[in-house]
Symmetry: C2
Subunit: 392 residues, 2 copies
Amino acid sequence: MTANLIIGQSGGGTAVINSSLVGAVREAQRHSEIGRVFGMLNGVEGLLGDQVIDLTAQNDMVLDRLLTTPSSALGSCRFKVGGSDLDQLLTSLRRRDIRYVLYIGGNDSAESAHQLALAATRAGHELQVVAAPKTIDNDLPETDHCPGYGSAARFLAIVTMEMDLDAWAMRSVEPVRFLEVKGRNSGWLAAACALGRATEAMAPHLVCIPERPFVEEDFLVALDNCYRRHGYAVVIMPETQRDAHGKLLGSHGSAWRDQYGHEYSLGTEGYLIDLVSRHLGVRARYDRPGFLHKTSLLHVSDVDRREAYLVGQEAVCAALRGESDVMVILRRTSNEPYSCDVATIELPRIAGGERYLPDNYVSLDGTSIDPDFINYLRPLVGGNLPTFAHLR
Amino acid sequence: MTANLIIGQSGGGTAVINSSLVGAVREAQRHSEIGRVFGMLNGVEGLLGDQVIDLTAQNDMVLDRLLTTPSSALGSCRFKVGGSDLDQLLTSLRRRDIRYVLYIGGNDSAESAHQLALAATRAGHELQVVAAPKTIDNDLPETDHCPGYGSAARFLAIVTMEMDLDAWAMRSVEPVRFLEVKGRNSGWLAAACALGRATEAMAPHLVCIPERPFVEEDFLVALDNCYRRHGYAVVIMPETQRDAHGKLLGSHGSAWRDQYGHEYSLGTEGYLIDLVSRHLGVRARYDRPGFLHKTSLLHVSDVDRREAYLVGQEAVCAALRGESDVMVILRRTSNEPYSCDVATIELPRIAGGERYLPDNYVSLDGTSIDPDFINYLRPLVGGNLPTFAHLR
């Protein structure tokens, strides 16, 4: 007896998230228990609105090309399901004779998948719900790392090396440079910026991580020290960096007041540029590559792409084994040579959880990265980083 | 009788500026009239401070690697020479028996080179000063295009295609996206964002150019139209975009007032996000890749790299022919198949000039790009752009 399968993508995209989609579609096609393979457009939000496409109808060329197409090709959403949504989702699934649901996403998506699995059990609806991890933030618990992280890390490592070249060359104009790293509450991406640092004289000179409060005095001492020694300084700054009071940098009110008396803040960028100008007396610049580490095709890690595919395949296999309310995880079985296998873990152990960067991975003053972290990260970013020439 | 040569880099870097450096060094090594090849660290500012290195001493591996090292490996400056600087520069050159000066840079650097050439003539100092063009902005007059532009254009074209994927996928969250393009007063880079646009439904939906004032009402009509038709909209926004009064967007005072009565402005980003929120009632996001189009190794155009090398070689040849106060230019001799040759032109015809995007290249409402521009740009960005799969 065959039943159908549906796949959704949710949350922010990654450069390899479609490899998980293709891995799942191709694995599903190998099993006679699975009839048609559907795709939700824009995750559960689309399924609620009955926006569903038939992926079985896609030809091989499209699937091949999806392997090198960044961001969620099915569209995405940021939508937490609950209440009557769940009944509506179950009705929609039943109508299409869908017994297998794969949901590719991060923490919030895992929570949605968990809620759907619980609702199915309550309703006596036979449904296998399997989550496939993806997140550039690498903050899902229990898994060695998350598909999407390796490519984002590769992007940031290379961009930091390139910022080093630019910052050094332009040091007589703007000697202090900030590179903002988007993300959530963990320092996995910020620390990755140090992967290509060949010598202590090179960027990143300072790495801030969200796990550790930003202390103005300490930061200025460390920055001044770097600037004096090297003539320039590159600082990695998470967009979620907070101070000791838990406030985002520059978010304290009172920088400005409008005609109604509302207070406005400088924002992180304005705050930091002003801070450097006042205390070091030099110009600073704040760059914000934004979404690029989630989408840059040319920075994709081949290891990351392969693992994203594998995770999609395993999600199908787990569903066919009758598992539900689980997420696929990666387990590192060896570091040299690097190898990972896949397994599954109960969603309640994942959903809502966040994994932080181990405290020892970045030195207290932010100037150095522990070799253990480099060893952890190196295999995930795939091929060699570029080697640049210096005439300094 | 041999004399020495010195090379400097000036202004903002490009991803291929070191290819001009290597082209010049290798060409110089082929001519017995040239003794040693020096490099100014940080352009004329470094030469004034006697920061000079011997490039003759660099081995082949370093030179090879410089071909794939973005940004100015000699360091750069933003420094206009004049007055007593010129005498000091001539003294420094004479002391090192330098008769040939190559200066790789954009508009301002061409002006510095011109001033140096004039000063040498006035002083009866035998000196050949040749400028080699580089600028991502593509705004130097007389040359078909500028080395550095092709790679920056390739970066922006690919990033816009990737932003299209991300913006479409996340359209239920942030349906309006701005991509800021750094640069000067011309729209060459902004227009390049449209190179990979396969259909009218895809990004960029609107292209603003600095040559054309931003008119709020017209912009909102065009944006609303795109958003309604496609469910999302990607807008290319030059950082130097001005309104009909010549003011940078969002730079009008009075958004906030500090305790001393000073007025503060929203800035371009704040202004545009607020504008979209108030008039379309949806969230907008403003991304600012910043310096990356000047430095991204993986986005280098092979054509651009080859031409940068050629321009460096020709600068040496021109100096040896006894030319001075000139800049090397590229002349397109054929578009299909594409070919360019090199020539030189008097610096006074370049220095201080700016070349703007022809008005017909971007439609008045910003929604379409003239095929003539695509034909102009296509050969400059090198190999094919990626082809992405869509499940829309």
